[in-house]
């Protein structure tokens, strides 16, 4: 198992270097000079432009800039934001727990509902439940996040008043970050009602961010289950007299899980992409909105640093998924 994990880790290295090169190049091939964007309608003189170029280090050859960036990465220094002048590393880890907390909740929500829904649909193939659940999944998958979020806010927060509109916690609660996870920090703070407030703020963004992965997981579970259910060993299991719960839940589901785990792993990328919109709408202080803002401002260190860190996270998640395959299916491990 360890050997398997290490071999996967080894493939990580060229990917990491590739990502470092792409993240550096990506923002630079976009049109738009960060200094001109910063000056806005006002414009700036040639001398001032030259001075700022020098200050940001843009007057140096591109390979020198790249070398600095690369050596910085290995020293754990991703540079400072042009705008806030704070280290990219600090900014990322201030905001990342918010994105992680929301993404984890969203994936738990998606799996908790999507997996049973897929199983129920497969077992009831062609019947009402199947059609109902799969139509629901199709709607969920096709729904624009922006529209869905606003609809939920208007109905659930506005008309019904069941949840707060946006933010991470009620404004009356105020405590230091310990873990960066609001649910945990609110518990640690010991303030009455803080945890409930943090949970209530999580509900709508979790539903919105989890909807697409939920739909994908439900559909994937259904098709994987259908495939497995038609296998000979399932017929054998049934012929042995095993009850439907044991056949579906143990024999079929375990084998159907491999493609589902793949989908869950790939959903992490979708979640981070979806987080951009969800975070903007729900005023959720995570990395999605931070990255979009930095792209518009052409804040090179932030964009390249954030891309690199996000890519590393997605790679780590996929590495974990690979290892999980091995746990679920010993055949993969031995290959």
């Amino acid at each position: 198992m360890l050997k398997f994990a290490l071999s996967r880790l080894f493939t990580f290295i060229p990917t990491f270097i590739g990502v470092a090169v792409i993240s550096f190049g990506f923002i630079r091939v976009l049109p738009g000079d960060p200094i001109v964007v910063m000056a806005g309608e006002r414009g700036l003189s040639e001398e001032r432009y030259a001075a700022l170029q020098q200050q940001f280090g843009f007057d140096r050859p591109i390979y020198v800039q790249f070398w600095d960036y690369l050596t910085g990465i290995f020293q754990g220094d991703l540079g400072n934001s042009f705008v806030t002048n704070r280290p990219v590393w600090d900014e990322f880890f201030t905001l990342f727990p918010a994105t992680l907390e929301l993404s984890l909740c969203a994936i738990i929500f998606a799996v908790a509902i999507g997996l049973p829904a897929g199983v129920i649909a497969a077992v009831n193939r062609g019947k009402f439940f199947d059609r109902f659940l799969m139509s629901g999944a199709l709607i969920g998958y096709s729904m624009p996040i922006f529209w869905w979020a606003l609809l939920l806010i208007v109905v659930v927060s506005g008309w019904l008043g069941w949840t707060p509109v946006s933010g991470r916690i009620g404004l009356m609660y105020f405590f230091d970050d310990v873990t960066g996870f609001m649910t945990i920090d609110s518990l640690l703070s010991g303030q009455d009602g803080a945890f409930a407030s943090a949970l209530s703020h999580l509900i709508l963004p979790t539903i919105v961010l989890g909807t697409i992965p939920l739909a994908v997981i439900a559909r994937q579970t259904r098709s994987a289950m259908l495939e497995v259910l038609s296998e000979d060993y399932i017929r054998t299991a049934r012929a042995k007299g095993l009850g439907p719960r044991r056949v579906n839940g143990v024999h079929a589901l375990r084998n159907a899980l491999i493609p589902v785990v793949t989908v869950i792993g790939l959903s992490v990328g979708t979640l981070l992409a979806g987080a951009i919109l969800t975070e903007t709408i729900f005023s959720w202080p995570g990395i999605g909105k931070w990255m979009v803002d930095s792209i518009f401002r052409r804040d090179y260190p932030v964009v390249q640093g954030a891309l690199l860190l996000i890519a590393v996270i997605v790679m780590l998640v996929n590495l974990t998924v690979d290892v999980l395959y091995g746990l679920i299916n010993p055949k993969i491990r031995s290959r």
């Binding site: 006002r42 700036l44 509109v165 933010g167 105020f174």
Partner: protein, 521 residues
């Protein structure tokens, strides 16, 4: 230490939470870039720093662009207009935080430091630099603790208004020095110390900024609330929902489509004010046939501005006649706008010998108060121009590219752009956007017209508004005759708020200011 500080602050705010009537919540539209206003140029950052934590030597009177005393009780200008002497208020206290407790009140040293750092130090003191302040200030002196003298390199009437601008916020020299010695100079930008009506308490990145009232503030009874909270809410529809749900008291920048519903809602009060801005279409006056004022005027007469106001601004704008907005002093009311008359326009073009004209119109890729949808605006103008036989191709570039390319002297066609005033001074519009120095940069019409330039140059050297006004009025007449731009619109700014908010005044310069705002019990 941070914990101790925030815990103390926490207890203050928890109390405030209990007595929520004392906490004013403002759903701000974006995150501040930092808290040292001299480093930045965005209004969002100024709201969070310059308008809360800091004061200036002079201030813009709330709701107007008139300059009134601030940290300086009074000031004198020498006869030649080159020396400004400010007399500082006595006993003005700086805030404190867990890293710093001031040992003295505000003195001339702090004022000189606040400007000298922007003259000396390399850095992105972008606003100060772009306003040409580094070249303007020759030297500063402090004859005593409460007097500051600015010696200028030339007479410059807008100087006094510049002193009320955000980059002219007065920071504590003692705090800056302490942080420098502690090896954490960035704290000046992250944990600001000023003399303003609100003390900075805490900033949770991209989420919430908290302030507490400065109990030692030098104006009696100000601020009126105990705590101020900025709840950062980037989406306009969500801000509206939060306002409705009572999660915030005031919100800026409503979506134009929501304004009507807000006005009909009895739980929301919508204030409005004409914005200090102008959206325009700038011809390249150095290229044929736009080098002919008759052609430019003919094109202007073909534009149906009312349709633009209705469609693009959805009513939240007014047609612009002059290059400066009507709320600005010296606005020439006697000037009449070019009538919308396609027939006459077609005739004028024919008289000028222009046939089968094809041109480009540049549409900005971003939304601005002076132009909420440049693409749509360009399409409407394209339609208008096609009626008089002018064929228009619409082009657009990424924002940075757009700004750069549109500045070029040899650029083709006409560019949609605009401007929001910095200091309420007409020079800030007329010289920056239409002066000869701006050709190849901020003067997108590439228009350098000597009679106009002479007027604005002279006006800048005169000390009083009364003396300057007739010159600016005359300059606007020349502008209208020469028509380097089609003046399109000035936006109207809407500020929705809860009915319990008292005494809020919409600031013509666009800032959101809460010193004197209270909440009804």
């Amino acid at each position: 230490m941070t914990k101790l500080f925030t815990t103390t602050a926490l207890s203050v705010l928890c109390l405030a939470g209990a007595a929520s009537a004392q906490t004013l919540v403002y759903c701000s539209e974006a995150s501040p870039e930092g808290f040292d206003p001299a480093l930045y140029t965005s209004g969002t950052t100024f709201d969070a720093s310059s308008h809360t934590v800091y004061d200036h030597l002079v201030e813009f009177e709330t709701g107007t662009t008139n300059v009134v005393p601030g940290l300086a009780e009074s000031w004198e200008v020498s006869e030649d207009g080159m020396t400004y002497t400010f007399n500082l208020r006595e006993g003005v206290k700086f805030h404190s935080n867990d890293m710093f407790t001031p040992s003295r009140d505000l003195t001339a040293e702090d004022v000189i430091y606040s400007f000298q750092r922007q003259i000396d130090t390399e850095g992105t003191w972008e606003y100060f630099q772009s306003m040409g302040m580094g070249d303007l200030i020759e030297s500063m002196e402090a004859p005593d603790d409460l007097t500051v003298v600015f010696n200028l390199t030339r007479p410059e009437a807008p100087f006094i208004a510049n002193m009320a601008m955000d980059f002219a916020s007065i920071v504590s020299a003692e705090y800056a020095q302490a942080m420098e010695e502690a090896g954490t100079p960035e704290m000046v930008n992250q944990q600001p110390i000023g003399t303003g009506p609100f003390e900075f308490v805490d900033y949770q990145t991209d989420a919430v900024i908290r302030y507490a009232a400065n109990e030692d503030y030098f104006v009696e009874g100000v601020p009126r609330v105990e705590n101020l909270v900025f709840a950062i809410t980037p989406d306009a529809s969500v801000r509206y929902q939060r306002l409705q749900a009572g999660e915030c008291h005031v919100m800026p920048y409503p979506a134009p489509a929501d304004v009507e519903a807000m006005q009909a809602d009895e739980n929301i009060v919508v204030m409005e004010q004409e914005g200090l801005n102008v959206g325009y279409l700038a011809y390249n006056t150095q290229q044929a046939p736009f080098d002919n004022p008759d052609v430019r005027r003919a094109l202007n007469m073909a534009i149906d501005k009312q349709a633009i106001i209705d469609v693009v601004f959805q009513g939240s704008g007014q047609a612009a006649t002059n290059p400066i907005p009507p709320t600005m002093w010296s606005y020439n009311e006697s000037i009449e706008d070019d009538p919308y008359d396609p027939e006459a326009a077609r005739q004028m073009l024919a008289d000028a010998g222009v046939e089968d004209l094809s041109m480009r119109i540049w549409a900005m890729p971003v939304q601005r108060p002076y132009n909420p949808n440049a693409r749509r605006m360009a399409e409407l103008i394209q339609e208008d121009f096609s009626e008089i036989g002018v064929d228009v191709e619409i082009v657009s570039y990424e924002w940075g590219e757009y700004l750069e390319r549109s500045s070029a002297v040899d650029r083709d066609g006409a560019v949609l752009l605009g401007w929001t005033g910095d200091n309420g001074d007409p020079d800030n519009f007329l010289a920056v956007l239409l002066g000869c120095d701006g050709v190849g940069a901020s003067n997108r019409a590439q228009w350098c017209h000597e009679p106009f330039q002479e007027l604005i140059d002279e006006a800048k050297t005169l000390p009083t508004q009364e003396e300057r006004t007739p010159l600016y009025e005359e300059a606007q007449v020349i502008f209208k005759e020469q028509a380097p731009w089609a003046t399109i619109a000035h936006s109207v700014v809407f500020m929705p708020m809860r009915p319990e908010v008292e005494n809020y005044v919409v600031h013509p310069l666009g800032g959101h200011i809460f010193h004197e705002v209270g909440l009804a019990e």
